[in-house]
């Protein structure tokens, strides 16, 4: 019953790589609806987040209702509908990490990066997002930064992360950062 106004204005063009991955998923699942969620993940992997333009593009490509796709995108914790920094800090603040003192780490992140939950550092490097238990409770407190697990984190390791190579805003010597 959709009114399919084919317009390119609010949509972006999915890249060949994105399309290839989405097409591959289409061979694995019997419905396009399933692939909708896969496509959100794929696009996010390529773009860092899922913009409105990407939402339109996915909905158009898979012929899924946009509102429904939005309902799915906004249901899940790990689909970002707003821009995020280069590296997302998935900060575990669930029970074991809390017992083991994650609050101190959170305070240190706030101090060093000036960000709380849902915020991105001024240099666009980090976005801080709380995440339910990361399943590494024996090494609590833990967090994931980008693709890397950081275990037994303490304020000192936060400092090391922030000052680590590749961080423009917080390295004193700005030479040698990534890109």
């Amino acid at each position: 019953m959709q009114h399919k106004l084919i317009s390119s204005s609010s949509s972006r063009v999915l890249s060949a790589a994105e399309l290839e991955e989405i097409d591959h998923e289409l061979t694995l699942y019997p419905t396009k609806q399933s692939v909708g969620l896969e496509a959100l993940k794929i696009v996010q992997r390529h773009q860092g987040w899922v913009s409105d333009e990407s939402m339109h593009a996915i909905a158009n490509y898979l012929e899924l209702p946009l509102a429904e796709l939005e309902g799915v995108a906004t249901f899940f914790n790990l689909i970002y509908r707003r821009p995020v920094g280069k590296r997302v800090i998935l900060f575990c603040d669930s029970v074991s990490c809390w017992i083991m003192g994650c609050e101190k780490n959170k305070a240190r992140l706030a101090e060093r990066l000036g960000i709380g939950y849902g915020e991105t550092s001024a240099d666009g490097e980090f976005t801080l997002i709380p995440v339910p238990c990361l399943g590494d409770c024996d090494k609590a407190p833990v967090m994931m930064v980008g693709d890397t697990m950081h275990r037994q984190v303490d304020p000192a390791s936060i400092d090391a992360l922030v000052e680590g190579p590749g961080n423009k805003a917080f390295t004193v010597d700005k030479v040698g950062g990534d890109e």
């Binding site: 019953m1 009114h3 399919k4 084919i6 409105d52």
Partner: protein, 932 residues
């Protein structure tokens, strides 16, 4: 039947239903939110908790959700159990934590299901003192307000809008206690059934926007049972009036027709009665206002001189009959277009033919294979579209029964069935808004569709093995192979079905209607049972009007009589002839006539041509009857008093008995063929308690002594209505549990529309003392069998001159109907008159969507819409209703046209644009089409 015990009393119940539904059917009060009789159970709200006990020994019991528990034989249930009550109180307390304290300013107040349930569950003190969740609201267009802070997350809106009505632009978003129901972004809700959200939502999230602009509490509305005038389905409605203006229309439950739902044309279209476009006083030829007495004198003079009459499908049975009495049957002419007149003759003969049955809307929902021929029901009889959408779920119900999943387990049934659907085949020129649930769609030029339909018939009849010869080699839509495949699958589906249904209508043309009937006849022979055949006329009283007119008394004949001078005066009732006949013929006739009397409630091109224009009442201002597509006559009561200066057509015409509708109905039944049973639509006044009348005002109607204080401080005498069993008063018989004259249901503890369950013999079933109208026509004859003439293929392959396109008219739900198009909210949904072309055709003109095209040889300009599913040889024209309320006279256009780009691409000042266009296929936007 099963026996269950509820709080110690035993009840006979239907074990196929759930406990909640059965408790409600028994008249018990059990709170609920997420369940709906049409949408089944999902168990989300947890409000309907009850205790069930294993056996008499079980003292503890188990808490269950009544809506998720079958009403199985021997069940021992307690609603009153302390734990169950406490849990229900907890649920309502939870639901209210973030609910605003805005009942006094909320449009739902006083008819709010949430208010009812809050009181019923005993929650009257708010312990919650933390922060509330708040939401941003969306602009959902001209029909509905959005106030998400009031949401209690029962999921009913999306279950209706998406699952039931097939909408796609409203969805649940976010989650946990931030769950949000809205669109992807602000914008008009696309479904043509969106207005039902105002009734489906148990609180004030979705409310009727035109109503809230001029808001009145439910209990302050003066109401009466009415019938929608939006199309030929005849949905039952309840218009509400206050201070002389129509405020809103809500659904009035009818177990066989609309059930719980209306379309948006019906709900929002009636507001035309309040507009400036009403004819409010009598006028003479010069447009000078006349007093009623002067007008009556002039009319009497015309009558004395002798006049012919032209009736109208949008005027009531009584009005048409009164005109016929006045001018005599010989001089009473059809007010229908030639095509519709012919179609109606055929339709009437089919309604009397015992080979067919005419399905109610409810029966359409139960069909297990449907073939729709040519008629775009979403735009011509929208409630039918909603019913056909349900019909495809017959297969799901069947699968669920096989898997022993109760049919009310809504989510489970959908999950099990996945894409499995009963067949729905759509043969239409362009895409329709039911395509998404169709198993077969065939888009081709009209002649090819006709050929394909004939092929279906021949194939079903087991005749001519080379039925494929019927199908033209070259059609501009589907290929021959595709057509053959469609024909095959339709035949297979219809043969396999238990309850097949054939749908066609007068917009599709009489030829296709004949083939539709022929197919139904073949099926009825195959199955030795009458086959359901729904032939849909165009307007609310098309059938009633046609029944009164002699077949040879066509409109063309009347116009000729006038222009020839064979008649010098004409009385036209509630009809704009420029919508019915070519402008030239209308103009010639009206100019030739010495006297043109037009009685109408609207200002139209025809009233402007009148020598005497008389203002009539609109549908809500007098009591009258109409005959729907089934031949079912229904009575619509007067809601408001006549606006000053106006009167019903039949009163103007002053025939004997007209002042009392019952006596006019009696006369009609005696004099007009086919109307013998008409008086049965009248409520039986004798059965009323002590002869009491039924109040139009609620027992809480307020301000009666003060409402006219700005005019006069004394309390005026209540208007007396001798004409009706209803009174303009709050006093009278209280129709508790009697639905014979039920406008607005209410029951103790149930102020919302959910109180309808108290009037139903069983939930979702018939009303107690339901007034269902009467079927006027009885089936006794076999109408002339029209053999599909199997070896001639008409039209399709006529070689068109290069660039010539066959004209095919399309309808839009908002705009094609004359009356509703004047309603302010509907007007915001109108779009320009357009011509839809296929992408290649558009490309050959070098034009894209939004460009202006001219029909060669005329001055008619149209906006171009490039639609993917348009056959290449067809121009699909929507004549439109312009911002000024006028449309292109479709009957002035030739059958074949050529188009060129308009020299001046600026759309007229009154342009509505195409933004409100809603179609079923893809539309190429400007940018995209330009690229290709």
């Amino acid at each position: 039947m099963a026996k269950i015990t509820v709080d110690g009393l035993s009840y006979e119940v239907n074990p196929d239903n759930n406990l909640l539904q059965e408790c409600l059917s028994q008249g018990l009060d059990l709170p609920y939110f997420c369940w709906h009789p049409c949408m089944g159970s999902v168990g989300a709200c947890r409000q309907c908790a009850v205790k069930t006990y294993r056996d008499a020994e079980d003292k503890n019991g188990t808490l269950v959700m009544a809506c998720m528990t079958p009403a199985s034989d021997g069940a021992i249930v307690s609603i009153e159990d302390e734990q169950a009550s406490a849990f229900r109180a907890g649920v309502i307390e939870s639901l209210m934590t973030s609910h605003p304290h805005d009942c006094p300013v909320c449009e739902e107040g006083g008819e709010c299901h949430l208010q009812d349930m809050t009181q019923m569950s005993g929650h009257n003190y708010r312990r919650y003192d933390k922060l509330k969740v708040t939401h941003r609201n969306q602009d959902l267009g001209p029909f509905l307000n959005h106030e998400m802070n009031r949401c209690i997350t029962c999921y009913r809106c999306v279950r209706f809008y998406d699952d039931y009505a097939g909408g796609t632009d409203l969805a649940a978003q976010a989650s946990h206690h931030h769950t949000y129901f809205g669109r992807f972004e602000d914008g008009t809700l696309e479904s043509e059934f969106s207005g039902n959200l105002a009734e489906v939502c148990p609180t004030g999230v979705f409310t009727d926007k035109p109503f809230s602009e001029h808001y009145t509490r439910k209990w302050d509305l003066q109401v009466a049972p009415s019938v929608c005038t939006g199309c030929a389905v005849g949905c039952n409605t309840t218009p509400g009036e206050r201070y002389g203006s129509l405020r809103r229309v809500v659904n009035r439950y009818n177990s066989e027709i609309n059930g719980y739902f209306l379309c948006d044309r019906g709900r929002f279209g009636a507001h035309y009665v309040n507009t400036d476009n009403r004819l409010r006083s009598a006028k003479d030829a010069a447009g000078m206002t006349l007093s009623t007495e002067e007008a009556e004198e002039k009319l009497a003079a015309v009558c004395a001189q002798g006049a012919i009459g032209i009736g109208s499908p949008r005027a009531s049975v009584e009005a048409n009959f009164a005109l016929r009495c006045l001018v005599g049957e010989d001089n009473y002419y059809s007010g229908e277009s030639a095509q519709n007149h012919e179609a109606l003759q055929w339709l009437l003969s089919c309604l009397e033919d015992e080979a067919f049955s005419c399905p109610t809307i409810k029966e359409m929902e139960g069909a297990d294979a449907v073939l729709v021929l040519g008629e775009d029901v979403t735009n011509t009889a929208p409630r039918v579209a909603l019913a056909l959408r349900q019909s495809v779920r017959s297969e799901a119900t069947r699968l669920a029964a096989k898997a022993r999943i109760p049919s009310w387990q809504d989510a489970a049934v959908r999950e099990l069935a996945q894409e499995a659907q009963s067949p729905l085949a759509l043969f239409s020129t362009g895409a329709t808004r039911l395509d998404d649930v169709a198993s077969t769609t065939l888009n081709a030029d009209p002649a090819s569709l006709l050929a394909a339909a004939k092929a279906v018939d021949v194939r079903l009849a087991g005749g001519s093995p080379d039925y494929d010869a019927l199908i033209p080699e070259a059609s501009s839509g589907a290929s021959k192979g595709e057509t053959m495949q469609a024909v095959e699958s339709v035949c297979a589906a219809l043969i396999a079905a238990q309850e097949p249904l054939i749908v066609c209508g007068s917009h599709a043309g009489v030829e296709l209607m004949r083939v539709a009937a022929s197919i139904a006849r073949t099926l009825s022979a195959l199955k030795s049972a009458p086959c359901a055949l729904a032939l849909l006329p165009a307007e609310d009283n098309s059938v009633g009007h046609a029944m009164l007119v002699r077949p040879q008394n066509t409109l063309a004949a009347a116009l000729t009589k006038l222009s020839d001078g064979a008649a010098s005066a004409v009385i036209i009732i509630e009809n704009d002839l420029t919508r019915r006949a070519p402008s030239a013929a209308v103009t010639a006739a009206l100019q030739a006539a010495e006297q043109v009397v037009v009685v109408d409630h609207l200002n139209t091109a025809t009233t402007r041509a009148a020598t005497l224009a008389l203002p009539s009442t609109s549908f809500n201002e007098y009591e009258s009857s109409r005959v729907n597509y089934e031949g079912r006559a229904q009575l619509s009561f007067q809601v408001s008093q006549y606006p000053s200066g106006t009167k019903p057509v039949e009163h103007w015409l002053g025939v004997d008995g007209a002042l009392h509708s019952a006596s006019l109905i009696a006369r009609c039944s005696a004099e007009a063929a086919g109307f013998a049973s008409l008086p049965k639509i009248l409520p039986d006044a004798l059965t009323r308690v002590a002869g009491l009348k039924v109040p139009r005002q609620s027992h809480r109607y307020s301000g009666r002594t003060a409402m006219n204080a700005n005019v006069a401080v004394n309390e005026g005498k209540q208007a007396v209505d001798e004409n009706s069993v209803m009174a303009f008063s709050m006093e009278g018989a209280l129709l508790q549990q009697d639905a014979s004259v039920l406008a607005s249901p209410w029951a103790p503890r149930w102020s919302s529309n959910q109180s309808i369950t108290k009037f139903q013999a069983e939930v979702g079933g018939e009303l107690k003392q339901e007034q269902k109208g009467v079927h006027l026509l009885t089936r006794s004859v076999q109408s002339a069998v029209v053999e599909p003439d199997s070896h001639v293929v008409s039209g399709a392959t006529d070689p068109a001159t290069k660039g010539e396109l066959g004209v095919h008219f399309v309808q839009q739900i908002f705009g094609s109907d004359e009356l509703s198009a004047h309603s302010p909210a509907i007007r915001e949904r109108l779009c320009d008159a357009y011509v839809a072309l296929s992408p290649p055709q558009a490309a050959s003109l070098g034009a894209t969507t939004g460009d202006r095209l001219v029909i060669s040889g005329t001055t008619t300009e149209l906006s171009l819409v490039v639609r993917t599913q348009t056959p290449d040889t067809v121009a699909m024209i929507y004549p439109g209703t312009s911002a000024a309320g006028e449309s292109i006279n479709a009957l002035d256009l030739p059958h074949r046209i050529t188009l060129t780009r308009a020299p001046d691409q600026e759309a007229g000042a009154a342009s509505l644009g195409l933004a409100a266009l809603i179609v079923g296929d893809a539309v190429f936007s400007h940018a995209r089409a330009a690229e290709e």
